[in-house]
């Protein structure tokens, strides 16, 4: 399993309502067990486990031991990379602003 998948894979993993809500839960409540994560969701533990592994495969979450319990937690660094999309658009604006500058200063 790759720990540095490309961005498209990252976003594909994010593009699911259940997985997004799992990420929100983990981000608000901190590390949680699968039992806690499936409570009140109407989604089976098996399905939650599968979603967590999908998120784990792209490095968005990881599991850890807390006492005798196995918990899942966020990989915050990886989530920050989602910002790369905006950085790329920002680079395009930099280029456009540079052309505008040349255009008005030389005409």
């Amino acid at each position: 399993m790759s720990r540095s998948p490309n961005a498209a894979v990252l976003f594909a993993a994010l593009g699911d309502v259940t997985r997004l809500s799992l990420l929100r839960r983990l981000s608000v409540d901190g590390p949680l067990s699968i039992t806690r994560l499936s409570e009140g969701t109407g989604v089976t533990r098996q399905a939650i486990t599968k979603h967590l592994h999908t998120l784990g495969d792209v490095g968005l979450v990881r599991h850890a031991r807390r006492g005798r319990e196995r918990v899942w937690e966020l990989e915050r660094k990886r989530l920050e990379k989602a910002r790369v999309y905006l950085d790329q658009i920002a680079a395009q604006w930099d280029a456009a602003a540079g052309r505008l500058k040349a255009f008005v200063e030389n005409s």
Partner: protein, 143 residues
């Protein structure tokens, strides 16, 4: 750090009226933006533009002469084969301000949080394939 907006500020050594024309006049806008637009900008009007395969639709929001210009569009980069009409648009705002030695221009693009994640992923893919190289070309051209 916001995931919803991008903000750029640049000082141009040109009078505000000159900068305004370069932004609000569709023909001049097209020159530096490198796009051919099919009409003049007017509030509420949709102006279409193209550059080869690349197509845009700019829905002009508000024009305050020599101070503010805004429009909505589907953000970069775009796949000509995809229909984006049902998707949320981002808002692009140009704000001009006189400063010593010229004009300060602020460009803000916002609303990215509403762009579907799948689209952002596609943008990544397209970026990786094409935009990365294009940005380098542009950077080399303007510097």
């Amino acid at each position: 750090m916001s995931t919803d907006r991008i903000e750029k500020r640049v000082v141009l050594r040109a009078p505000r009226s000159r900068v305004w024309r370069a932004i609000a006049d569709a023909k001049e806008f097209g020159t530096w933006f490198r796009i051919t637009l099919d009409g003049a900008f007017a509030a509420g009007r949709t102006v279409r533009g193209s550059h080869g395969n690349f197509k845009v639709e700019m829905r002009v929001e508000r024009i305050e002469p020599e101070r503010y210009f805004s429009y909505r569009w589907h953000p970069y980069p775009k796949d000509p084969a995809t229909d984006y009409s049902g998707e949320p648009m981002t808002l692009v705002e140009f704000t001009l301000e006189e400063v010593e030695g010229g004009t300060a221009l602020t460009i803000v693009e916002s609303g990215f949080d509403r762009v579907p994640l799948a689209r952002r992923a596609e943008a990544f893919r397209m970026n990786t394939e094409g935009w990365g190289g294009q940005i380098k070309n542009l950077a080399a051209y303007v510097s």
